[in-house]
């Protein structure tokens, strides 16, 4: 499946947050949205997920123009802070909530919940109260609750920035797997390890696309200014390796 945006615009009152953006997203691929604070990353994600309606421009799914309602069926949204979207009193109930909303018959529900929780390796924890979960577990639950309702694309807003290194790794492993299984991933990020997951990087600044490059190519000094501050990127730069070639880099980094 292919999701395309053409000439997309969005304004908050007098402020233009997203200014004529073109991009396309495909299943089985991940795109990282990078850019300074206030550049429009979260707004763009919300437009793609049908949470905000565009002021102008088009969003197409496999070539057909779709509105926010249709988009929401195909694109799931995960917040930076999982506490913003977890509402169930058990893990099981939290996943059930979305299914109830789409009117899934009760007898089908458990099977679907199990499928979603197993994807994020949380089925064993199904009876737990979400407030007793670790950050990584909460974020995996948020992903499962969204997956259960069946979106093809996942739009994630800095999904690991609130988590410790262990929680990060758990969530990244899940996202990597979902990508391999054919989900399309769109991720707003300031984090090298989240970028590592991506095939393409879209750099936003003041609501406009500054760069739109495949990972490992298209390096320039100008682009480097938009990359996150990180020790790993510094090593790559030091070695004269393209810092966008992150996979190679992290492989180097993982010495024991």
């Amino acid at each position: 499946m292919k999701l395309e945006i053409k000439g997309l615009k969005f304004s908050y009152d007098d402020h233009i947050a997203i200014d004529s953006i073109d991009a396309s997203f495909e299943t089985g691929r991940a795109v990282g949205i990078v850019g300074p604070n206030g550049s429009g990353k979260t707004t763009l994600l919300k437009l793609i997920a049908g949470i905000l309606p565009a002021s102008d421009g088009e969003i197409l799914l496999d070539g057909f123009i779709v509105g926010p309602n249709e988009l929401r069926k195909h694109v799931g949204y995960v917040f930076q802070n999982p506490d913003n979207q977890i509402i169930g009193s058990t893990v099981l109930e939290d996943v059930a909530f979305g299914l109830e909303n789409i009117g899934m018959p009760r007898e089908k529900m458990l099977e679907r919940i199990r499928w979603a929780l197993e994807k994020v390796e949380m089925w064993e924890l199904r009876e737990r109260n979400p407030s007793t979960l670790s950050g990584g577990q909460k974020q995996r639950l948020a992903v499962a609750s969204m997956l259960a309702v069946g979106p093809t694309f996942l739009a994630l807003d800095e999904p690991t920035s609130m988590l410790d290194m262990k929680g990060r790794e758990e969530v990244l492993v899940v996202l990597k797997k979902l990508k391999a299984e054919g989900h399309g991933i769109i991720i707003a990020t300031h984090d090298v390890y989240e970028m590592l997951l991506c095939d393409e990087i879209l750099v936003l600044d003041e609501g406009k696309v500054r760069f739109y490059v495949t990972l490992g190519s298209g390096w320039s000094e100008e682009l480097a200014k938009y990359l996150p501050e990180s020790f790993e990127i510094k090593i790559a730069d030091f070695c004269g390796v393209n810092p966008l070639n992150l996979r190679e880099l992290i492989h180097v980094g993982d010495f024991t």
Binding site: N37, G38, M165, P228, S230, I235, V241, N245, V252, F255
Partner: protein, 283 residues
């Protein structure tokens, strides 16, 4: 001058079925002028610890003493404690309640320093330090981006210049420009002898700045000590505390470089010792 915790325990919802002991028998001393990083997994009690330091929470048992003042002592003016100990919360939106950024930034300064303050000068200073565009001053803080909110939360405590600053995950959501600017803020605070207590997962960012580390697990202090000791002895086994180390920290441990200030130097030494190898060069 110091903040001391003496056998501090904190129990949430005491006497109900939801009773939860977040901190147990914590002894800790944060001396004036130190930069202390507090680490721990989810539910380890980090945020509870932060909230105890300026008397937002008061210990269930034990004492928290700020420059000789007990936060539980009813004869002590709690405002005096809070003027000395500034707090930046984990979620900036939890601490906003005024209609404009300007009001938000000045609120604490007006409270603690009185009405005689030079508001324009304070605003100018804050905007410069946290790199905030002045056109944002008349906006509603809730309308801003995550990184901008974070800067306002930090800026609002800079206005009255507290001696101690407690920050809960202050780098979350900051972009690289924001992080660089924030590092400069922290370095200049450290130089001016401010005490910083920072709860963080962002070890790479804070390691060069930190003097001391505190590791919490399930409400108990597992380690508290100097940075060198932390890197030598604790970094190799961070997994035991539900944490993970980073490449930079492992290299620092391996090369016995406990300052972490010069990253280039660290990389050169790591390369020459073969701890990391250069992959094929830039296309």
């Amino acid at each position: 001058m110091a903040i001391s915790l003496e056998r501090v325990s904190y129990v949430y919802s005491r006497g109900t079925p939801f009773q939860w002991c977040a901190l147990r028998d914590v002894d800790l001393r944060i001396k004036e002028g130190t930069v202390a990083c507090v680490l721990g997994g989810t539910g380890s009690g980090k945020t509870t610890l932060a909230l105890l330091l300026n008397g937002i929470l008061r210990p269930t048992t034990g004492r928290v003493i700020v420059d000789g003042m007990d936060t539980k002592d009813k004869t002590v003016d709690i405002r005096e404690i809070r003027r000395r100990v500034g707090m930046v919360m984990q979620y900036p939106e939890h601490q906003f309640f005024l209609p404009t950024v300007r009001e938000e930034l000045l609120y604490a300064a007006r409270n603690y320093l009185g009405d005689e303050i030079d508001e324009e000068r304070i605003l100018e200073k804050i905007c410069e330090i946290v790199d905030l565009d002045r056109h944002l001053l008349e906006k509603n803080p809730f309308e801003l981006s995550g990184g901008e909110k974070r800067r306002i939360a930090i800026g609002s405590i800079l206005g009255y210049d507290p001696a101690y600053l407690v920050m809960d995950e202050p780098t979350v959501g900051l972009d690289s420009t924001g992080k660089k600017a924030f590092r400069e803020v922290l370095v200049s605070m450290k130089e001016r002898g401010k005490t910083l207590v920072i709860i963080t997962h962002d070890l790479d960012f804070f390691v060069s700045l930190a003097d001391e580390f505190v590791v919490l697990k399930e409400g108990k202090v597992m380690f508290s000590g100097r940075k060198g000791d932390f890197i030598k002895n604790i970094v190799p086994k961070l997994e035991e505390y539900g944490l993970k180390s980073t490449l930079k920290l492992r290299l620092m441990g391996n090369l016995k470089d406990f300052s972490g200030i010069d990253e280039d130097e660290l990389i050169i030494r790591a390369l020459s010792k073969g701890l990391i190898t250069c992959p094929s060069s830039r296309e």
